[in-house]
Amino acid sequence: MSVVVEAKRLSRTFGGLAAVDAVSLDLRLGEVHAVIGTNGAGKSTLVNLLSGELPLTSGEIRFGDDDITGWSQPRRARAGIGRSYQRTTIFDSFSVLENCRLSAQAALQRPWQVWQSAQRCAGSREVAAQALQAAGLADRADRIAGTLSHGQKRQLEIAMCLATKPGVLLLDEPLAGMGAEETERMLALLQSLKAGHAILLIEHDMDAVFRIADRITVMVNGAVIASDAPQRIREHPQVVTAYLGEAHS
């Protein structure tokens, strides 16, 4: 399958600490590439480097035919790299629909056209409605986002990411704090998104990761110790000692 994003030896240091240390990985269309590791292993920093939220200390990121290493976050987002956040990052005081509509508007900004009403912007409304439908929030469109349940906020987080019509999804713990039923729904959603997207999944729920991931990269202290198919990762001696522990050995 075709490589969409190729990260080569990404590093990021904070003071003397190497939060991400020469990490290379690629994301392919139609694949879920999971990154696992203990707290502080540098997984979220990795997402921030790929999305452009943090500048690299060294390394190179290619997206399709472009070298996007020097691109700003908004430019990467418009080019099709979407992300969700580990800590829910939504527009609390806006309606659920407006959360998605505003995200969709990023593709059609034209801020100088002040005579056009944002609420009647047909293009962004339609994309927002589709994103809500896909994320299973269509019946909550008029609710104020801040009043949603935790699980629904996590769904909205994904819907907002989808509303930017990304080709690449960088998902930072989409299952965090979700109940069993919500987890199932989210996994079904990720499964359905697989075909059209290249997905990077950061997740602590190991059962979910092994069910959905096509490849798994294991990080310890900012560095990659293994990257392989799920079955091989399960049996990888270093991974077993470093991370998975007795339960999965």
Binding site: E53, A77, R78, I90, F94, Q105, Q113, S117, A118, Q119
Partner: protein, 314 residues
Amino acid sequence: MKANLNHWLPLVCALVLAVLGPLLSPYVSDLVVKVMILSIFALSLELLVGMTGLVSLGHAAFYGIGAYATVLGSGKEGGSIALLLPLAMGSAAAYALAVGALSLRTRGVYFIMVTLAFAQMAFFVFHDTALGGGSDGIYMYIRPALGALDMENRYTQFYVVLVALAATYGLLALIRRSRFGAALAGIRVNEQRMRAAGFPVYGYKLAAFVIAGALAGLAGALFAIQDGVVNPELLSWHESGAVLLMIILGGLGPLRGAIVCAVAFTLLKELFASEGLVGPLAAHWQMTLGFTIIAFVALLPRGIVGIRLRRGAA
């Protein structure tokens, strides 16, 4: 019903003012013009604080620069308002571009301090150099005109300022409902998410900052034309603080809050400074106004427009 009210109320107010204009006594007419100019100034800051979430404590710099540009540009023969108003707005916008480009790299309390610092810089340029007559300021020899529109005429002044206020209000109302305004609201609520969605947040904030500066320049120009004299106090941080206080008291968000509070502020000031009404307290109007403001903040946490909101929500 409420949406209708929001649409029609400003228009009705503008029409009532337009009809009443010629009937007002010179004193009242002057006062109304003053309030309208202050309203334009307050609205310009509302674009930054209420709509974009950028709390600037240096907004009077743009107001003062607009005022000085108008007086300096009018010369001894008086100028044309068709040239002077764009000159004032352009000068203020140019300074706003420079200030915004640098200050928008900071946020929160640092943004407040940096905007204040830039305003103080502009203040001391006018205060300590001969450019604008130093600390005494300068007089306008003759008010500008444009054909039959002679700003020496009280009625012309009234209608030009009314049109400027209506245009400012209209522009901001348009911005609020547009995609630009939606993006500014998004930046106010969650800047990080806006960047993640693909919005060049810095450019949006800079655009808002420059538009706000230009509109403050317009208010300053109209002030200079009405008053006929400018001095560095126009750029002082007291002015910046007063207009910020005004829009916070008015209630951030709805545009009419800025105008309602400009009216209330001016009327209270007139009231507390009038010896006929408050006797010897008139000499201490700043104190009575101060207590009134404290009472407002304590009793109306959502501002003056919040009164209606709360009743509506109940």
